[in-house]
Symmetry: D2
Subunit: 306 residues, 4 copies
Amino acid sequence: MPLTDEQRAEIEASRRSPTTTSRPTVPALEALLFTPIERLDHGFIRVVDYMGDDGAVVQAARVSYGRGTKKVSEDTGLIRYLMRHRHSTPFEMCEIKFHVKLPVFVARQWIRHRMANVNEYSARYSILDREFYLPTPEQISAQSQSNRQGRAEVLSPDKAAEVLALLRRDATQCYDAYERLLDPDQYGLARELARMNLTLNTYTQWYWKIDLHNLLHFVSLRADPHAQYEIRVYAEAILDVLRAWVPVTCAAFEEYRLGAFTFSAGMIRVLQRQLAGEAVTQPESGLSRREWDEMQAALRAPTPAP
Amino acid sequence: MPLTDEQRAEIEASRRSPTTTSRPTVPALEALLFTPIERLDHGFIRVVDYMGDDGAVVQAARVSYGRGTKKVSEDTGLIRYLMRHRHSTPFEMCEIKFHVKLPVFVARQWIRHRMANVNEYSARYSILDREFYLPTPEQISAQSQSNRQGRAEVLSPDKAAEVLALLRRDATQCYDAYERLLDPDQYGLARELARMNLTLNTYTQWYWKIDLHNLLHFVSLRADPHAQYEIRVYAEAILDVLRAWVPVTCAAFEEYRLGAFTFSAGMIRVLQRQLAGEAVTQPESGLSRREWDEMQAALRAPTPAP
Amino acid sequence: MPLTDEQRAEIEASRRSPTTTSRPTVPALEALLFTPIERLDHGFIRVVDYMGDDGAVVQAARVSYGRGTKKVSEDTGLIRYLMRHRHSTPFEMCEIKFHVKLPVFVARQWIRHRMANVNEYSARYSILDREFYLPTPEQISAQSQSNRQGRAEVLSPDKAAEVLALLRRDATQCYDAYERLLDPDQYGLARELARMNLTLNTYTQWYWKIDLHNLLHFVSLRADPHAQYEIRVYAEAILDVLRAWVPVTCAAFEEYRLGAFTFSAGMIRVLQRQLAGEAVTQPESGLSRREWDEMQAALRAPTPAP
Amino acid sequence: MPLTDEQRAEIEASRRSPTTTSRPTVPALEALLFTPIERLDHGFIRVVDYMGDDGAVVQAARVSYGRGTKKVSEDTGLIRYLMRHRHSTPFEMCEIKFHVKLPVFVARQWIRHRMANVNEYSARYSILDREFYLPTPEQISAQSQSNRQGRAEVLSPDKAAEVLALLRRDATQCYDAYERLLDPDQYGLARELARMNLTLNTYTQWYWKIDLHNLLHFVSLRADPHAQYEIRVYAEAILDVLRAWVPVTCAAFEEYRLGAFTFSAGMIRVLQRQLAGEAVTQPESGLSRREWDEMQAALRAPTPAP
């Protein structure tokens, strides 16, 4: 239950009185405006504003006077060409703004994307709510041995329950102390100091604004299977937003970026030999074990249908 | 006459069918949308899209759920506080997109503002029009002797006419050769090469998108009296756009930035002595001649009425 | 005791075998290289590399072929001019790299400066040490009533001791649980999950690289008396580094930025009246109470001697 | 002859008195320091300062206390891993500064890379030299018909001579007029105005500073065969600098970026069918004609030996 009734009422009020505009609008995105897409146990992401559409990409690439004077098929072809050849500036011409609620440890990964604008709820100025992330049992996994920054199998139900109990106990005790520290009748400690007692799974929130090019870059990194689950669920929500907002751009992105794989010079040499009918094995491929495995995985992967 | 009939028709078509939106809209800016604000002899700047309004600044600063739940006076106070104390991130939450037509030598100054998105008309790909900037006689001024990057008095009408004739002759001859170089029946030279024969007053155009914080920074530098006239006229047009778009922010900007002056530590020491009744002269002020003059000018300047 | 013996040995090894270079070097900064400047109870900041000096600012401003062909007095005058008139690009031509150890809640403020390069120690990949920030009793202060994001008076020794005990208890318990969660013989939980149980005063560390212009901006915001004490101590350490590295630039920075004050249009009107001999009171000054107080404080402040 | 004797003397003076430093140094790059690498008829690029080396990439990725405590083979493996998986931040930890002399139309392409620091020689403040780019006859090529922004076959010697004569005539006439406009005995026109009469092949110069990650991105775009020849020659010079400065990083860059090719989802489907022994033709490949050709070209290309 990430929102209070009061917050829901504020959100509802935002959509009450639509106005007219001559700007490009996207009905499918208007339908999503303001509504929280819930993620994790208390988090959400919601679109609060946007600028531009697929046509704006085309318009900027052509530096044209009006809005889309060409045929739809030509516009689609142009967008696909721009995406394939990494012409990034036309995609910078669309902009979107989100309101996100997320655990602090996720926020710390997220903020590493510098090409965005952020206003975070300030715990120097305000008091954070008693809300902290507790994973579902299916997410409580062991450390991977093969990938130092990954997860392996899920813990047994008993172990998972113990882990959860520990996480809950500490977050609760820390928040209780936070409240006592702030309480003017007990310590009245400065907010900027008291916050240091909170755990990293405490929820924070921010307004986050970014252009379409940089958003696609964010999604390509954070919707990746190697990204931590707790940020990936937000990236996947953004991918759904992209499909509604800029369907042509998003399809090109899935074809040329998400579903693509970059073969190194050495991998291309292997491909050349294989396509010429030669049977190549890893030891004589010139590739390291790890590269070889990555290449085989890419060639095995089912790729989205056309 | 910066636009052709066809271009005007394309622009008109853009505003024909307004749609409804739940996003913040600004009627005063909608009225300006798409229409070229003409500058110099063939240039213009026109707003093609925007995101946010004064309320979006407040909303981001408060990380609030709805749109402006506080009173107007409180919102104004907050915006003025943010501007005075250089809290820049809330102003980054508004975005605007322009289509600009401008001489190449102006474009080269403009592009130095890196925190913006740009798509320029490509002379590798397309052919530039026969349009070049020729100053009006009142702008044909001598080199300043006191300011190495400034202008002094206007040349005499006779001299100015000769200057204009030279500029017109060379731009015309260069463009004529450009056309001959491109002409498949003469040389059919690659566009990316032929363009090098054009003069720096040739007009180019681009889509330019920027957030409000960085736009204010641009205006504070380029609407300054020390900026070159040919870019200042665009900055002043943008200032008019700002007054329509974000009137509260723009008033705060004029009060705390455009109309303000930063007194150095040494200047403050002089002020302290003067306010204590002491008559201070430059030689015993501790300020250089130049600093002294800058300080006196700031104190003499009429400042905008409250 | 922020460093282990092994770490000190690694640092010592770095300075053992100096080499020769034709690049600009700054002996006063070489003397500081690698050595941790200790801050807070376990933190530090140390310079690990740098590029350029005062001469590099001058060289770039002049786009000259050699290194400083002008007299020292002219170079100083140029740097002061550039600083006064906010010509930022020449200062971008110097670069410095720090290794910083700091509490997570400080890191979260720090990272908001986007124009820098950062590599942070990864708690997805590695295990954080048992180190958390505990303020000294003189820093344990009450919430300010006048400034919502500030501190007021220090708590009584008894109260401060209780606050410290709470902070220590929770950070310790959380870290104990973190270790148990990670322990393969207990839970073997993935590192990327276990870290969420740590408190926000846990120490992290990063490599941070930034150009001189952006570093001055950082210092002007974070060495300010309104900045939180726990980040201000780092900013003040950087200010000392600046004095060693670029003494001319740093002096200009203290004169025109740190020791300066920006008077708004309305404040300049008040100054004009006061300098003309008029006694002006706040109610008829046209300034808000807050602006009036800020102006009076600026005029009362002792400013650094010439 | 891009440099005067005086300029060469200034450059020589820079390398005369090497000093000692504890910073990482790269002897192979020290040997290149300051010396102009000549490009085009009057241009050059020269390294004027640098920070870091291959070890600095490793050090930042590990956030380690000393310099390279691991074995060389592990460091190489780490750099290759970082490059393959597009971990960009460790490469941002190296920085380099160039002094570049280049034609204005090349500078206009170059400046589109925003993540760099630039100080350009100011034609508002100073007077440009009589130097303009004239292509060699082998570079005077016809417009490509298949690629709207490319060149096709070289013009005949006669045609090329005529093109050159036109370019020389116009640049010369424009520069002659520029001098007359500036001459105080004739017009004494402000420099900021007179410069508009110059052609786009006039040489300008700047100091350009950039981190290694962004420099690799620049090279990957501008050393590409599709880049315009006149900027590619500079990118290739930078590639030589990279080989001297960061040999391990540069080799990884050539393997995983320059020599690599990104296969789209559709191309991977084709590969899968081909590797399974199926003969696939373009019409039933699901790829457009253009994509098909790009894929075939990638598979035919000789790739650098291991």
